[in-house]
């Protein structure tokens, strides 16, 4: 039979996490014998729309994409539906009234990640003997979906907790450099008052760790650090005792995606939501887990 052709529109290559995500999808496609048409959108929604239109014009068998943002997909997904091409979402949902416009969503839940980070911190606070813990937050890029959701989930989890006080929040744009820069400023403004750092991704946390060390403090002890993603660098930091916990957000959804694609094309039923298995890795398990990390 002719090999199945999948058109995949990736957000971009903005982070290590994303590169791992891309690699996973490409490898899985090769293993499953699926011809992958890969299009990089360079972080722009309009490029994703263009790519999807072009996939439709090329009559691929199935379209998959990681939406840059939730809104704005109605029109182009209708076109896909009219062309009878099934659509699979990865990573996050889209905001469409007509749920039949896509078959399934594979991926993580950013709000849930934020909640997990918040819950871990709440547990920690309960054990801590300090009366109040001052938290500073390094947000992702302003307006970006993971930043908004991870913030919302975290706030939900710590809301009303009298021991946790949000001191400062500022964007570190998901990068090490900005994470470090902002943390430096926080340290100068508040110094030892800061007890906890919550970073929306590991990269910012790694940058902030450097700032904390350069300020003569001990990351992971003087300042508790909570972050999200679970990339290799974070595990190394945890092993070194500089990071306290990283909430996993797995980019390795290639195999699940390919499986779902084959099922959809074969006409088998597919659940509307496929959740990737994700865990919370506190520093205690890091050393054991590190050799297993693929990215």
């Amino acid at each position: 039979a002719k090999p199945l052709v999948m058109g995949f529109s990736q957000v971009g290559a903005e982070s290590e996490w994303r590169s791992a995500n891309t690699a996973s999808i490409k490898d899985a496609a090769k293993q499953a014998g699926i011809t992958l048409k890969f299009a990089d959108a360079q972080q722009k929604q309009e490029n994703q729309v263009k790519a999807i239109r072009s996939f439709i014009a090329q009559r691929v068998d199935v379209i998959a994409f990681s939406p840059v943002v939730e809104t704005g997909w109605e029109t182009v997904l209708r076109e896909a539906k009219a062309a009878k091409i099934p659509v699979i979402l990865t990573d996050r949902a889209v905001n469409v009234a007509d749920k039949s416009l896509y078959v399934t969503l594979i991926g993580s839940d950013f709000v849930e990640e934020g909640r997990r980070a918040g819950r871990w911190l709440a547990d920690y606070a309960a054990k801590s003997n300090k009366p109040v813990l001052n938290v500073v937050e390094l947000q992702g890029t302003v307006g970006s979906a993971p930043a908004l959701d991870r913030k919302a989930g975290f706030e939900e989890a710590i809301k009303g907790n009298p021991k946790l006080k949000m001191l400062r929040t500022q964007t570190g744009e998901f990068t090490r450099a900005k994470g470090k820069e902002v943390m430096e400023a926080f340290l100068k403004a508040h110094g030892k008052d800061i007890n906890v750092l919550y970073a929306h991704n590991d990269d910012m946390a790694i940058g902030a760790i450097q700032a904390i060390e350069e300020a003569g403090l001990k990351p992971g002890k003087d300042i508790i650090i909570v972050s999200i993603d679970g990339v290799k660098g974070a595990f190394q930091a945890m092993v070194a005792g500089k990071l306290n916990v990283s909430v996993e957000c797995s980019p390795l959804l290639g195999p699940q995606l390919m499986k779902a694609a084959q099922d959809v094309v074969a006409g088998k039923p597919v659940p509307p939501r496929i959740v990737t298995e994700e865990r919370v890795f506190p520093a205690e398990v890091a050393a054991k887990e590190l050799p297993n990390r693929k990215y």
Binding site: T22, T169, T171, A177
Partner: protein, 340 residues
């Protein structure tokens, strides 16, 4: 004719004011650096009142520690980029590939350093890569005659791709102590990066003053046709300006990657070109080329960095950052206008 010249001279000086003191004040105010410096001072004053401990300095770990030191350290790469950009702009050009070159240099340096190459070799390779970028830009503009903005757009797009190619899309982390000296080391209590930036600025300033480079640069920027007819190698100078700008960007890339001990091909130096151009204009150099103000560009870089830092320290909500930045840009511009 000769007497008419002499008789014109008193008329010319007739405008001289009377008292000496206001004259000094007026002359200071008319100095090209007065306004950018003024803007910087206003920003610092805001910090003095609004951010407790802003000017606090202490010795920690054998070096000075405090907000001011951070600003200087952070501003170093921007100063470098702005210096290169000043030279390009003075010759009627513009280079929007600076950010991409930063990323490429950082990628090369970190990849080689992580592969346990000697440090000097890693740095030389990175600067070499940057220089190649500059040569490429220079060829497109000076030899092929492409418009600077499109010519450098090519590298702006492709350069980051090359950087990611080098790092294979990963963030390359370096775990060697000698690698960090450039970006986070200190010398006599002050950041090494600051010395590097100031050394480059000083070198350019001296070259501009002590050789005829400054004169030629301005002549080419103001009237390239006349400059060529006067025997200046206009093409070669334009070419060299792009090469120099790229090397500055490469150095900035080394500092940035050394500071965070890693190379992030996708984000290193992102939009640095815009900040560099902003610094140059805030410093009082016209984008139309010609007269330039190197010290102004350095101050411009400091203004931008202080502003960023102020926003962080004041606890401005992140969604307001951009509005604040734009208002400051407008305010500084308007304060400079009466000069015209």
């Amino acid at each position: 004719m000769t007497h008419s010249t002499t008789s014109a001279a008193p008329a010319a000086i007739a405008a001289a004011p009377t008292a000496a003191a206001p004259r000094l004040g007026a002359r200071l105010a008319a100095h090209p650096l007065a306004r950018p410096l003024g803007a910087l001072i206003v920003l610092l004053l805001i910090n003095l009142f609004a951010v407790p401990g802003f000017f606090h300095l202490e010795v920690k770990g054998g070096h000075l520690y405090g907000a001011m030191v951070d600003i200087l350290n952070r501003a170093a790469p921007l100063m470098l980029a702005a210096t290169g950009m000043t030279v390009v702009i003075a010759m009627r050009g513009i280079d929007i590939s600076v950010g991409a070159v930063v990323a490429l240099a950082a990628a090369v340096a970190c990849t080689m350093a992580a592969a346990d190459q000697p440090l000097w070799f890693a740095f030389a390779a990175a600067l070499g890569a940057a220089l190649l970028c500059g040569v490429w830009n220079g060829l497109l503009v000076a030899s092929l005659g492409l418009q600077p903005i499109v010519a450098t757009l090519v590298l702006m797009v492709a350069g980051r791709g090359l950087a990611q190619l080098v790092t294979d899309g990963q963030i390359i982390t370096v775990y060697r102590d000698d690698f960090f000296v450039l970006g986070s080391g200190y010398l006599l209590g002050l950041p090494v990066a600051l010395y590097v930036a100031l050394a480059v600025v000083a070198t350019v300033a001296v070259a501009m003053r002590k050789t005829a480079l400054g004169l030629f640069t301005q002549a080419v920027g103001i009237n390239p046709v006349a400059a060529r007819l006067a025997g200046i190698r206009a093409g070669a100078l334009v070419f060299a300006s792009y090469a120099f700008c790229a090397v500055c960007a490469g150095l900035a890339g080394l500092i940035i990657s050394s500071n965070i001990k890693s190379a992030d091909a996708n984000n290193a130096g992102l939009l640095l070109e815009l900040d560099a151009i902003l610094a140059v204009t805030l410093g009082g150099t016209s984008l139309a080329g010609g007269k330039f103000n190197l010290a102004g560009s350095v101050i411009g870089a400091l203004i931008i960095q202080t502003l960023t830092y102020t926003v962080y320290s004041l606890g401005v909500p992140p969604e307001v950052n951009l509005v604040v930045k734009s208002l400051v840009v407008f305010a500084v511009c308007l304060s400079q206008r009466s000069k015209a």
